[in-house]
């Protein structure tokens, strides 16, 4: 409905009064039409709503601002290097090649990276009860890997810690696979499988995985503190502190060095376990919602 000139004038005056009351709730705005004076009590009630939710938690404010400052420096660095993208890419490639092939540090880093693909570990694959499988529940040797398919219940019985599961899953996701990891290099007195992974997938191929490690980070007073995590890895592009079920945690933005982050991982402590949920297919909000539902 089109406003008349008179209504527009009254609306402007009420708007001015609203702005005045938002700055000073005790103000007594003037020049209002007598019929509109009654609106002031409604305005005062609405102005109280934000106050009713309480002040911003200083810890939250610090966390966001740290994130802003960290990302801002990263973004400006990226933008600077993006001025001449082709030359920058060539220069980076040459530097990486020289560093990897010539320096001891580079060779160590390359060796560490390659070790990810060859951990010398024994993989125990476990299939949930509702997933049909033609493979028997007995262990099979395939090259250097021991694979063992079993039900989720059997997996719970086998791993040496209480397995946790998320009670919230994004729409369309279901448990696809449970995998236990046994590391033969560890001393015999360490119970195995040492860690476990739950893989959830959707019909469109999207995946999210949750891993559980019965380990403690750091030593002495730092023991088991999430702050003792190594956040210097080249693949970690951003870190944000978060709260997960009352425990400190971090959300990591991960991806190849110099490229846009590809996936998010939330890492936190719960029930003497280090838990990590990672995905390239969910928003950070969904990821945290899933983490906070883990029981």
């Amino acid at each position: 409905m089109r406003a008349t000139k008179g209504e527009r004038l009254r609306a402007e005056r009420v708007s001015a009064a609203v702005d005045q009351l938002l700055v000073n709730p005790d103000a007594q705005p003037k020049y209002l039409d007598p019929q509109d004076v009654a609106l002031l009590s409604t305005v005062r009630s609405l102005a109280q709503l934000p106050l009713a939710f309480g002040a911003v938690d200083p810890a939250f404010k610090d966390r966001v601002m740290r994130c802003v400052e960290t990302q801002a420096s990263g973004v400006s660095d990226q933008r600077k290097s993006g001025l001449r993208p082709v030359w920058a890419a060539v220069a980076v490639a040459v530097v990486i090649f020289v560093v990897i092939s010539v320096t001891p540090w580079g060779q160590t880093a390359l060796a560490s990276f390659m070790a990810v693909f060859d951990l010398g570990r024994t993989q125990v694959r476990i299939t949930p009860a509702d997933v049909p499988s033609g493979i028997s529940s007995t262990a099979q040797i395939q090259g250097a890997t021991l694979q063992q398919d079993m039900t989720l219940e059997s997996a719970k019985a086998e791993v040496p810690f209480a397995m946790l599961v998320p009670s919230y899953l994004p729409a369309g996701y279901r448990l696809e696979r449970v995998t236990g990891y046994t590391y033969p290099d560890l001393p015999a007195w360490i119970p195995q499988p040492f860690s476990a992974e739950l893989l959830y997938s959707a019909n469109d191929g999207k995946e999210v995985s949750m891993r559980m490690y019965p380990i403690r980070l750091g030593a002495g007073e730092q023991a088991s503190l999430i702050s003792a995590m190594n956040l210097e890895a080249a693949s970690i592009q951003g870190v944000q502190d978060v709260d997960v079920n009352g425990q400190p945690g971090v959300v990591l933005r991960l991806g190849p060095a110099g490229a846009k982050a590809i996936w998010h991982e939330v890492v936190w402590e719960q029930d003497d376990l280090i838990l990590a949920i990672s995905t390239a297919d969910l928003s950070q909000i969904e990821l945290l919602r899933m983490a906070r539902s883990v029981r």
């Binding site: 527009r8 938002l22 609405l46 801002a72 420096s73 909000i285 539902s293």
Partner: protein
């Protein structure tokens, strides 16, 4: 166009207003904080799209609106109803500090009777404390039109609150 770190102070200044706006859109403090953090993460990444520094508020609140809208589009609750109910009731109720729970619920319930555009305008005005010009830029309206929509919304709210 400025660098993201040039805007650190502005981000600090706008953080409470963004959180306040988001709190009026979602009924969960943890979620409100997560979404607010996400708004700032996105803002920094999109800093280069801010062409006019004087449009900072409108630009930032557009990101906030889109972030919350995207959350609602993607959010599909699949947890059992019992768990959802438990989670809702276990959330602390900060509003009790200033307005009692009943008053807050009453005002929020009445707000929901407004059209989506009127609700958004009320959130931007009273949650974020934006001027009519800033709201106009966020919602892509004329400032004069914002005043009229606000005026009509306040009259409706006044009438509904009196009825109850």
């Amino acid at each position: 166009m400025g660098r993201a770190d040039d805007y650190a102070e502005l981000y600090r200044e706008y953080l409470p207003r963004i959180l306040s706006y988001v709190r009026l859109r979602v009924d969960d403090e943890d979620l409100a904080q997560d979404l607010t953090a996400l708004v700032f993460e996105r803002a920094v990444l999109k800093q280069h799209t801010l062409r006019r520094p004087e449009a900072f508020a409108a630009w930032l609140f557009r990101i906030a609106r889109n972030t919350v809208a995207e959350h609602y589009r993607s959010w599909r609750p699949t947890m059992p109803l019992e768990s959802a109910a438990e989670q809702t009731t276990s959330t602390p109720s900060p509003p009790e500090a200033v307005m009692n729970r009943e008053q807050v619920d009453r005002v929020r319930a009445v707000l929901l009777k407004l059209s989506e555009r009127e609700q958004e305008l009320i959130r931007l005005k009273f949650g974020a404390g934006l001027s009519n010009q800033e709201i106009a830029a966020v919602m892509r309206l004329k400032a004069g039109h914002v005043a009229v929509i606000l005026y009509r919304a306040l009259r409706k709210l006044r009438s509904w609150l009196e009825e109850e």
